[in-house]
Structures are given as C-alpha cells and as structure tokens.
C-alpha cells in the first residue's frame, strides 16, 4: 500500500472510531497536546490507560467473586476507570462505567457483574481499535509520511 493510500486509510479509520462512538472529542484534545517535545504523548497516555484499566478490571473481577462484596471498594475502582476512560476519550467504556456505578450504589450484585462484563467487552474493543490506529500511524511514518 502506498503512502497516500495509508494516509487515507488512517483518516477513514479515525473517522469511523468517532462515528461509532468509541472515541469522543477528548481524544482530539490529547492529539493537540502532542508536540515535538513529546512526539509520542498520545501513545504514552493511552498505554498508561491500558495498564491502569487492566489493573482495575482484575481487581474488579476478584472483588465480585468474593463472598462478601465490598461495594465501596468496587465503586472506587470503577470511579478510577471512569476517570481514565473519560480523560482519553474512550466514550463507550466511560458510559458503561457510569452504569456500573449506578448498580454499585444500589448494591446490586448481578447488575455489577453484568456491567463488569460490558466494561471488559468495551475495553477490549477500544484497545484493539487504538492499537490498530497506532500501527497505521507507524506504517505512515515508516513510509516517510506524517499524520
């Protein structure tokens, strides 16, 4: 694939991520912060988001398997996940976290378990999408182009 095709693919793919609700304007804000002094800023922050999210999702999985559910602890993890996803523009993850917090407030175990599955599902989707986006970026740069 030549450079022009790659750049077109990148633009189309990015547009689809916004149209399908995976990303919102906050992702644009992150891209605007990137500059020569921090050329990998977006990748750096998104990688932090991945690490952070996986840690919280593991904690949530363990917490919801306990005999005595600590809803306060669960809510604290979901709050963190909601914060991170909002900050990078991962809209669908953020929305599921909002639902999740609702079930925590109601102390609804089944609701929380269902939400956890939804959050995991949306997280895996957005992670794959962002990794594909970054791979496209790398291909463009390797071909001598720019974003």
């Amino acid at each position: 694939m030549d450079l022009v095709q790659l750049q077109r693919q990148f633009v189309d793919y990015t547009t689809s991520l916004f149209n399908e609700g995976f990303l919102d304007d906050q992702f644009n804000q992150l891209q605007q912060l990137q500059d020569e002094s921090n050329p990998d800023f977006v990748v750096e922050v998104v990688s932090l988001f991945f690490e952070d999210s996986e840690r919280h999702l593991n904690e949530l999985t363990q917490s919801l398997e306990q005999q005595n559910i600590d809803f306060k602890r669960i809510d604290a993890h979901v709050h963190q996940l909601k914060g991170s996803s909002s900050s990078i523009g991962a809209q669908r993850v953020q929305k599921e976290c909002i639902n999740f917090r609702g079930y925590c407030e109601e102390k609804n175990i089944e609701g929380c378990r269902k939400c956890l599955q939804q959050v995991k599902h949306e997280y895996v989707l957005v992670k794959n999408k962002l990794e594909t986006l970054f791979k496209l970026e790398q291909q463009i740069i390797a071909a001598g182009g720019s974003i």
């Binding site: 002094s37 921090n38 932090l48 952070d52 604290a76 914060g83 991170s84 909002s86 900050s87």
Partner: protein
C-alpha cells in the same frame, strides 16, 4: 499587569489524569509537580513548597479534595486552587467551593478550561 504563573501542583490519584494535566501545564510553560492525594498536597506545603496554582481533584483516598482545600486555607496558603472533578452533584460542588476554591472545572480538563482558570488567577 499579568501575574506570572510559573508553578503548579497537580493533586490527583489517577495516573492518566496526572500525565495529561502535567502536559497541559507544560505546554503553557508552567512547571508542575504531582501528588496522589490531599494529604500529600498538605505535606508538600508543610515541607515549605509553594505553588502559584493547585489543580485539586475531589475524590481521592486518604484525604479528599474538600478536606485538603480546607486544610491548605487554614494553613494560610493563598495559592489559586482550582477544583477539577467529574462529580457533578451541585451540593458537592458547593461544598468544594466553600472549602476555599477559587474556581471549579469539570473533568476532563482541556486547554480551554485551563486557560480559563489562568485568566481567573490573573484577575485575583
């Protein structure tokens, strides 16, 4: 004359937010430090450090933003403190403001919101 804002303290328990807030400040030429909760924010001031601006999250472990803001004002800290939170309950926001905030912005923080905070600081 515009006040020169050169230093800031980011008080947030979320590492993603810490990184983004620091970059926002860095792009505006403001040097920053980060701490992960209200108690660390208080401790850093007890150690003698001072900042032109404090970006204070609300919900944090050990000591939340409301308590930390209150404590800092009791200590005589006159820095601009801007609350930055996703919490949108009006009651909580009022309590946060009453604790001693100069401004409040809803997360996620953007360039426009930070510039708005800085303009307020200049008018202070």
């Amino acid at each position: 004359m515009d006040k020169k804002i050169s230093t800031a303290l980011v008080v947030d328990d979320n590492t993603v937010n810490q990184r983004i807030h620091r970059k926002l400040l860095d792009n505006l030429g403001i040097q920053s430090e980060t701490v992960a909760n209200g108690k660390e924010a208080v401790d850093v001031h007890i150690s003698g450090k001072n900042f032109d601006l404090i970006l204070m999250d609300l919900e944090m472990p050990i000591m939340n933003g409301i308590e930390a803001t209150r404590k800092l004002r009791e200590m005589g800290i006159r820095s601009m403190i801007a609350g930055v939170s996703t919490r949108s309950l009006e009651e909580e926001k009022q309590e946060f403001m009453k604790a001693g905030l100069d401004d409040f912005q809803e997360k996620p923080l953007t360039v426009a919101k930070l510039v708005s905070i800085l303009h307020k600081l200049n008018r202070k």
